[in-house]
Amino acid sequence: MEYGVSPNDQMLKPMYEYVGDARVWNSWSKTASLVRHLTWRSLASRYRGSALGFVWSLVNPVLLMVVYTIVFQYILGSNSKEEPFPVYLMTGILAWNFMSSAAINASVSLVSGAALVNKSTFPRIALPLSTVCANAINYLVALPLLLVFIFAFGVKPTPSLLLFPFALLLLTLMATGVGALLSAIMPFFLDLQHLIEVVFTMWFFLSPVVYPISLVNDHPRWRGLYQMNPMVGIIQLVHSVFLGHPVESASLAIAIVGSVGIFACGIWVFNRLSVHCTEV
């Protein structure tokens, strides 16, 4: 051991003090402006250089819809009572894809932004936040096409369409919470990425995206447990917004408490851990 390298009384407690107006990041509006710039950056990098950029982001949900329609409607014989099954599928898949790709992309935001994080001082939360915003914009851009699609299948819009901002809020809180939480842990355990994909696939099948919720209602023993997943209520809310389905109040309550709780937890963990992400 070298001289003076064990903590002793003379060592000061770490204290970083700004005097006067020395703080560069002194307001929320500056962070918001950075988030806006980073959001635009990730959208531009995705869409520029390929005219079909936006079309590509629709190919995935459309293909999923076709496959799930064939498998669930024609092979397994499940169906939704009120509307054509492809409409039900498309509505849920777009919402799920927003939440999951926002959370998964956000989870690697600190790792892939390492060059930025290691060389400049800025609020690191802007990285996962901007990823979620970029995915939210993708989702919003796809919505008019979803409405056309729904209408083409003869489903009439209902006043519950006005509840869409509320559904979007819950999806965003969930994506941000999960994304911030995972992104703060990711720099320390890079193999978490592989685990995340598996967990999200499981989560996908535990939410009523590719099958009607009535399928679960037939199994009262599992129903209570199934409902503890906050995404059940959120996806139900999305179905209710676009297709006028009723929402169960219990599922909705769990969705609200769950997404707000996960959001708060994710931000808290991010604030604790992201300080250390440059150390590994």
Binding site: V5, L12, E17, V24, G49, S120, T121, F122, F189, V280
Partner: protein, 253 residues
């Protein structure tokens, strides 16, 4: 704004510890397996900064010299609050901007103009500030019509000019510069030095870490020699560099 003699940055007893694992668990699987192994989680502490302290006045340029691994970059990152310190006290009385790397956060698909806006936002400028500085940044970078082309079409020199142009326009009180000046060609360096001196006259203080001793002696008011994370000597550039240069070891040694 006239330069006054007040302290703008103060470091007191700053220590920075790195935890050096014998085999660092870099994955969940690894960490889990190691929990059950004897000596699985053995590490030793390595101090990259030991009891570093100095004070910087408004408009003063402080140079930092020292070999590879002496703690120069760690010190700049700790001052910028990019890396947390383990012990110590840092008092900041002015806005800090960093120039630790040229073109940090540049996106190849975006044009020069768009990258200026993005980089300004990363450095903490508001949209109004970015807009008001845009033209003078473009003038300084002197890229001609390339400013409206995606920067993936830029040469390395143009890239560097744009990064430097942004950093000198952020109106920071303290500018932290790491080794970037040694990278550019001679013409670029000739342009940088007067620009930094102009900033200094306007009251900007700087901390410059560099291997280029001639540049340190040309620019700095004071130089700190770091070795093994400890301040070996602090004083006027010529005195410190004279004592330091015998310690320079040829790279192939």
């Amino acid at each position: 704004m006239s330069p006054d003699s007040g302290e703008i940055l103060g470091l007191e007893g700053v220590w920075r510890k790195y935890r050096r694992w014998q085999r660092r668990p870099s994955s969940l699987k690894d960490a889990f397996v190691r929990l059950f192994q004897r000596n699985g989680l053995v590490y030793e502490d390595f101090w990259a900064l030991k009891d570093v302290g100095f004070s910087l006045k408004r408009g003063e340029i402080l140079g930092i010299c020292g070999g590879n691994g002496s703690g120069k970059s760690t010190l700049l990152k700790v001052i910028a609050n990019i890396l947390p310190m383990s012990h110590g006290r840092i008092t900041v009385r002015g806005k800090i901007a960093t120039l630790l790397d040229l073109g940090t956060g540049f996106l190849p698909e975006l044009t020069g103009r768009e990258n200026i806006a993005l980089n300004g936002a990363i450095m903490g400028l508001s949209d109004a500030e970015i807009a008001s500085k845009m033209e003078s940044i473009i003038d300084f970078a002197d890229l001609g019509t390339f400013i409206n082309s995606p920067i993936k079409t830029y040469s390395a020199g143009m890239y560097m000019r744009l990064g430097f142009a942004i950093a000198v326009h952020v109106n920071a009180d303290i500018l932290l510069i790491d080794e970037i000046l040694a990278v550019g060609d001679e013409e670029f360096q000739r342009k940088c030095i007067p620009e930094l001196q102009q900033l200094q006259r306007n009251g900007t203080a700087m901390v410059i870490a560099s291997h280029a001793l001639n540049m340190l002696s040309a620019l700095c008011d004071r130089v700190i020699w770091l070795d093994g994370g400890r301040v070996m000597m602090e004083g006027p550039p010529n005195e410190v560099l004279e004592r330091y240069s015998p310690h320079l070891v040829p790279a192939n040694d």
